[in-house]
């Protein structure tokens, strides 16, 4: 009888233990790093390791990066020193979409335009715009002397109103062609880029492909899905268009150039764009610092990455001579190209 009781007790204890193990293992939790330099370093490395989408394309050995930067982490380092080390670690991927945001500074890699000629001057743009230009939805526009519309598009950070676009394109109706000056456009909403590009096609066109990560592995991706540009529902432009670019054309603006190259009557003039073909996601470190990283890669119609920029149809740079004569070489090239059509 005593033996049976002991056996019964053992079974009950075993069952309780199993239930406890099941209950504990059933909690859906994420590993938590300490809020100190080491913990923040490990958290950042892991977030990038599991989410960043361009390791293979950029040829970055992320484990090797861990080995070399872990040595630079010290428990006594200040926030500024930590940001410097973490910022340098992130800069290894040479991606303008990879940033570390703190309340006092931003870790960044802007080599995609800082290492190249600007090919842009506010002074020259102001000369071409003059004082009698229109402003709508944050965009400045006017008709140049040779009856060419000039549309300055410095950003896609806000949504573009369909009514604004209708008014702008109707204003340009008498013009023989349109120049869209995209230089310095660092991107913003991809939907705004689509809205504007949709005014330059009368039919749905394939403009590229995109995919997303399906797991933590560096090569866990979905299949490529086509990106289609739908024609805009308002006024659509039917005449020649020239898009002006420089190295600071990035992200959604880079996508806009990609879309426009698939539309009829479009020529891209200027410098190569800055790239930024990974739709960025965000996450957070234990310290509260935000990290942004490329998560969904996008490609052109030939399934080639546009992460490192898009070549123009006609490469032109600002010249010193023209600058001294108050002439923007790239705008002048666009005008002579249009006048020669």
């Amino acid at each position: 009888m005593l033996v049976t009781d002991r056996l019964m007790n053992k079974r009950i204890n075993f069952t309780l233990l199993l239930l406890m193990v099941f209950a504990l293992s059933s909690c859906v939790m994420e590993s938590e790093f300490s809020d100190n330099p080491q913990g923040n370093f490990e958290a950042l490395w892991k977030i990038m390791d599991e989410h960043y989408c361009f390791f293979d394309e950029k040829g970055v050995d992320w484990n090797e990066v861990h080995t070399s930067y872990a040595k630079q982490i010290d428990a006594q380092m200040t926030e500024s020193q930590l940001l410097e080390v973490l910022g340098n670690m992130l800069a290894e991927v040479k991606d303008g979409h990879v940033n570390l945001f703190t309340s006092f500074d931003m870790g960044r890699y802007w080599g995609f335009h800082e290492h190249y000629p600007a090919n842009y001057s506010d002074t020259l743009i102001n000369r071409y715009l003059g004082t009698d230009y229109r402003i709508s939805n944050g965009y400045s526009y006017r008709i140049l002397d040779d009856n060419i519309g000039y549309f300055r598009c410095p950003s896609f950070t806000g949504p573009i109103g369909a009514g604004n676009l209708d008014n702008i394109l109707l204003f340009f109706q008498p013009c023989r062609a349109l120049i869209i000056d995209l230089r310095q456009n660092g991107g913003g909403l991809i939907s705004s880029a689509e809205e504007l590009a949709g005014r330059f096609t009368n039919e749905e066109v394939l403009v590229g492909y995109m995919k997303h990560k399906t797991g933590r592995g560096h090569n866990d991706f979905s299949e490529l899905r086509p990106q289609k540009l739908k024609p805009g529902s308002g006024v659509r432009w039917q005449k020649p268009v020239v898009v002006l670019t420089n190295r600071a054309v990035f992200s959604a603006a880079n996508e806009f150039v990609k879309y426009m190259r698939c539309c009829p009557n479009v020529t891209v003039i200027g410098d190569k764009t800055g790239g930024g073909a990974g739709l960025p996601f965000s996450s957070e470190l234990p310290s509260g610092w935000s990290v942004r990283f490329s998560a969904c890669p996008m490609y052109n119609t030939e399934k080639e990455s546009t992460e490192n920029g898009i070549e123009p149809d006609i490469r032109v740079s600002l010249t010193k001579d023209d600058f001294l004569k108050n002439r923007d070489t790239i705008i002048e090239k666009a005008r002579s190209f249009i006048n020669g059509l």
Binding site: A23, S26, C27, V28, M29, E30, E32, D35, A43, K46, I47, H51, C53, I190, S191, M210, H212, K213, T214, G215, R216, D220, S222, R225, Q227, L279, P280, F281, S282, S283, E284, L285, P286, S287, G288, W289, S290, R292, A295, C296
Partner: protein, 260 residues
Amino acid sequence: MRMLTMALGLLVSIVAYSQVTTDSTRYQSLERVRLFGIGHTDILDTYLSQEKSTGTELHYLSQTFSRHADSKITREMTHHLFASSTGTRGNNNSLLTAIYGFRLGCYYNLDFSSPSINLMIGGLMDGTLGGAYNTRNSNNPAQARIALTIDPAARLCWGFRIARFPMKLNYAVSLPLIGAAFSPNYGQSYYEIFSKGNYDHNIVLVFPFSGPQLHQMLTFDFSLFKTTFSFGYLGDIRQLKANSLKYHHYSNAVVFGWKF
């Protein structure tokens, strides 16, 4: 589109169900409960952040229990609204969450007269609609919470008196057993899902191994000034592991309200 159809179908069924349950003359018992709650919540959603978010959560519960005359069956309809503004270790108030839960239930009654105990065993159709918004993120700023599950459920009510005063202890528990939920894929943006229509395993299976879930509530009823008041504890565990993403939403709240 499928999700919208599903949501509309559920809405129609709730409206139809509520119209049936408001006809009080046909019932042996009809009990309505209104409860307000405040408590602590702990939310993790790795789609939005690797950090868990904690803070205060507010609840509102509306419950109706109806039992036909000469019937052993009780029907339940519950609307549960809860909302929170929570923060991580490093950022206060960085996550805003609002969820509407509805449950349609059916129980078989086991009545015992001495002591006065009523045990109800049955099941629920358990729906969730809501979302969370991270105030700091770029292309992954929000997460939708849509789910429909079948839950085994039980309720235990013990009526007793202290002096002349009737009182009641109620315990209700339900465990989502099987169902479906919406989830973006691991690194999939909502732009890709909704603007491009690129679906990729966005309807996922919910079952105990995708993350055990539990809804429970313990309340104490007492009468005062011809009104039955109710207060107690509400516990809600929602979890999901799908598409390599992790989600948990733990709620513990004190509730107070009345019955009529």
